[in-house]
Symmetry: C2
Subunit: 246 residues, 2 copies
DNA sequence: CCCGCCATTTACTCAGACAAATTGCCACAT
DNA sequence: ATGTGGCAATTTGTCTGAGTAAATGGCGGG
């Protein structure tokens, strides 16, 4: 079995270089649990041989993984997978890699929990700071969502645009930097939903309520509406039936 | 002027390798604004010569920066600094680099805004999920803070431990993954505070109120107490007097 | 039983060459 | 004049092989 197959492409669609695709392969193996924290990754010579690439390319891949907190390389010790508490879980690529394989339901709940916290607050902030331009973009995304539905790629993109625009409207760079990660989560989990047959519930009403609150500059109502939206989205996601912790 | 000076050490204290210290040098130049988005970074041959290292080491440094969303390298085009919206601002290292030079006051406000949102909610969640062990750790950090005060390194470490333990008590891996970044922000901004003379206000009361609410499993009160704590911390930070946006 | 030296293993750095990709120019046809 | 195809130059990407530096674990001496 060859570890890689053809020119891998990232979510954005851009072709990945050799080092990038190797980082992706190993990264997925790590976040999916196929390699566990504390495990060693094998020497550079043997690993690069296993991937049929030069040590240079393999080392650059390791650098990428180390930059995302997934591994830790030291002479004489080897390249060890870091404990999960070290992982940069909100890194867009790490998040995307998690959705490449069926993600742990527990982890999915945690992600929705954080989204509920951050995006609700973001909706409230956006209600206060939004410009007419933001409002126009939100309306555009909403229209596109309604036109294409979440069953199409264009519809899912519009959904992501809606959430992305809302985060951008906060004018808070740190909140904006979560956009890519949130989009990855939305895109992937929406695909999950559709997998078990088409969605029966119409997701538009709660989206419209968020928009209306933001348009009315009603921060409190925007927060509540977004909180509700995310609770509903979690309910629609199949693995949400898994046990809650404790 | 030589671009690097001696064996650079990251916040954690571990000695940095060549590629790591170069990534740090360039990374600081980027987040501090000395290089601006859209700028090119110069060819690999000339850049590696400027740092007096091999192309290999320089390229690995670029891979690190690219993994954090700071730059984007393409053949024939060069290595271009990405727009700030692409930066992984919550990456612990990026955050630490931002505090290496005086950070933009506007950005500092944004960071406090996000901390207020996330840490308040985290306090509420922690109030529901905390175990006796978490409580013991919180108490330990509190005692250490009181004993050493924020004027000492040990006291600042205790402060960071308090916030870290609280985030850990949420049992939410995504929230936990923010710990390192939050610590970097706390450590650096606390040093700023002290710079203009010793702090006159005692930060212990609001910390104790958070602890008591978490101990009492009172989520609502924990949220409010943490929100208050962060507002006070922002007030103590010198640049907080800078204009709010718009 | 503890402490410091030393050998070994591993990642790290270097140098030089060649390959691949992307751009922009330029000739050519329309 | 304008669009279109391919060619050439530039830059990052990949490969090879060699040598360096760091961290560990054992060994010997205290």
């Amino acid at each position: 079995m060859s570890p890689r197959s053809g020119p891998a492409r990232r979510a954005g669609g851009k072709a990945l270089r050799l080092h990038g695709s190797i980082a992706r392969t190993i990264g997925i193996a790590i976040v999916s649990g196929r390699h566990r924290p504390g495990d060693l990754l094998g020497g550079e010579i043997s690993s690069s041989a296993r991937f049929a690439v030069s040590r240079t390319a393999y080392r650059e891949a390791v650098r990428i993984l180390a930059a995302k907190g997934l591994v830790n390389a030291r002479p004489k010790v080897g390249t060890r997978i870091s404990p999960r508490s070290e992982w940069h879980l909100l890194d867009p690529e790490v998040l995307a890699w998690m959705f490449e394989s069926e993600p742990d339901p527990e982890l999915l709940n945690s992600l929705f929990e954080l989204r509920r916290v951050v995006e609700s607050a973001a909706a409230g902030i956006a209600a206060r700071r939004r410009t007419p331009a933001h409002l126009r973009d939100l309306r555009g995304a909403l229209d596109a969502m309604a036109a294409h539905t979440l069953a199409t790629e264009a519809g899912r993109q519009a959904d992501m645009d809606f959430h992305g625009t809302l985060l951008r409207a906060t004018e808070n760079p740190f909140i904006v930097s979560l956009t890519k990660g949130v989009s990855a989560a939305i895109g992937a989990s929406t695909v999950f939903k559709q997998r078990k047959g088409p969605l029966d519930r119409d997701p538009m009403p709660e989206h419209r309520r968020v928009y209306q609150a933001v348009a009315a500059r009603d921060a409190r109502r925007a927060e509540r509406a977004m909180s509700e939206l995310i609770v509903l989205a979690r309910r629609d996601t199949p693995s949400s039936r898994a046990r809650r912790r404790r």
